[in-house]
Symmetry: C2
Subunit: 320 residues, 2 copies
């Protein structure tokens, strides 16, 4: 991690300059070496922002809800950063949602920074990049950082869970809560929003959620907040519920415990990712040879993995 | 991998006995040490089965299509194994689809074996378990193994792609093909099925797919097959298209190349998973200490990951 850091970039982020923040997040997406230096310089200035995850099925109204919640938070004079994490292809890369078309109501508000992020490259990419991007917004002085992501798939659910308060958005209609449970969202929810609550079935959706919560044995019972985000209804209640959950966690050691567990996962993921890169880089030729031997049934995959670890990292025989 | 292997279990699988096959797959799901021994014994008897992935959005009709395709394949006297990979919670574990309620039409056919699989434990679990379960069915003498999984999320898409022919199922209706592209399914499709093709918008869906395929530069242009699986329509055409794709791959080195690449991914995933387990096991206390230091901003996450790797695997300093 030696070498010269881009000091104007670091200073720009710390001063909350939009262009510097945008460039730092691009560095993270690209995964360059420069990123590591910039993140190292920013790191001591982080840890202040409170993070809110917004997740749910496609079409649940997460973007509108996020946009309106930002407006509500701004009324309290707090600053907000938003990361829209795009569940796009691990193959094609690139964000499908353009930042330009999103959240036009905040276009001229300097207290708000909005950014879409997408996977570039390998599977673990977005899971590793998201906490770093959160830190950039944190270092830039944002009081709140919201992470909006679609709650489908294991990787996406784990991203939505990497925050201080996780809000799960469902819609009225038979089975939406069941689908959320199936996707693993019940376990991570600190708060439920039944959005589009002016539609038929809103009461049933709330009842369904309550029944599911009755079955769960947890210290904190998540609140259920009905909203109609497009009409700005229920946003005061949602904001109040988020603040209640924050206070609950700040009472005692709950918030530091939660953050330590999250950081532990991140450290582990970075360590695992390093090995993966090593195996895809310098050890690629060995891996290809081993795969051919396995294909010909001369070696089984577990024995091949063992040889790969030994060949890629001499002395690492105790990794098993 | 020394120690006594369960010989009756191995012999039972090789003889194609249902109970032995079911038990071997349960061992894989549970991830026991016994699993490794059984898989090692079965491995030399694998490599013969042709694997077909069936994927698409929830509600696309994958289960019905799979069931009908099994019937069609059985008419050619070939035997079939089906793995329904459940995209269930990484938290709650357990398959939500019961095998008992699935595919009742095959209940008395000894040439068919059907099994749901679910994540137990960590994120990488199902991705590692699926190729092993495929090998059990392969060793049990099944000519075809079908892997049915919902095409949402990165992990699920990569599972659907780990086969010889990948079939992507879409429905009529504006945007379904676009959603499939967004989920990364366009890149992995060897063959498209427009199921429920008796509904409005089927022609538009086919046209939409054709336009997307026009933009892609690939050697093999995926065929598009309309079906109405519930009425058994289009299954002959689908089966013919799968066999054409198989012949295309068997002409030249395409199939061995594809299999070698897939095995290389699997070997790498096993190696990475070993490190992850090590970090969650013996190194858990060190990880917790490091996370607390990072939380207090005394150490940055990358430096912590470096210390973790060194502490967990002395001599592995070249893993970076």
């Amino acid at each position: 991690l030696s070498g010269s850091v881009d000091a104007p970039l670091v200073d720009g982020v710390l001063a909350g300059e939009r262009r510097a923040v945008a460039r730092a997040i691009s560095l993270i997406e690209d995964g360059t070496v420069e990123r590591a230096r910039v993140m190292e310089a920013l790191f001591p200035h982080t840890g202040r922002a409170y993070t809110i995850g917004i997740t749910g099925a496609p079409g649940a109204g997460k973007s509108t809800l996020t946009e309106r919640l930002v407006l509500r938070i701004r009324r309290d004079e707090a600053t907000v950063g938003v990361l829209a994490v795009d569940p796009s292809s691990p193959y094609s890369g690139g964000a499908l949602l353009g930042d330009r078309v999103r959240m036009q109501s905040h276009a001229t508000d300097r207290g708000v920074f909005i950014r879409s992020m997408a996977t570039r490259g390998h599977l673990g990419g977005i899971a590793l990049a998201t906490p770093e991007a959160v830190r950039v917004l944190d270092a830039a002085g944002k009081d709140y950082v919201m992470i909006e992501t679609v709650g489908v798939g294991q990787a996406e659910v784990s991203i939505a869970n990497a925050c201080d308060t996780t809000v799960v958005v469902v819609n009225p209609g038979w089975g939406d809560a069941v689908q959320a449970a199936k996707a693993g969202l019940m376990e991570i929810a600190d708060l439920f929003v039944v959005n589009k609550a002016d539609r038929d079935g809103a009461r049933e959706a709330i009842r369904e959620l309550m029944q599911m919560l009755d079955l769960a044995e947890t210290d904190f019972r998540p609140e259920i907040v009905p909203t109609v985000a497009v009409r700005d209804e229920g946003l005061d209640e949602l904001w109040a519920a988020i603040r209640r959950h924050r206070r609950y966690q700040e009472d005692g050691d709950r918030l530091p415990d939660r953050r330590r567990r999250r950081i532990a996962r991140e450290i582990r993921d970075i360590a695992v990712e390093r090995l993966r890169r090593r195996l895809e880089g310098d050890a690629a030729e060995l891996l290809d040879e081993l795969a051919e031997q396995v294909r010909r049934r001369r070696l089984d995959p577990y024995a091949a993995a063992e040889r790969l670890v030994l060949g890629a990292a001499p002395g690492a025989e105790r990794l098993d």
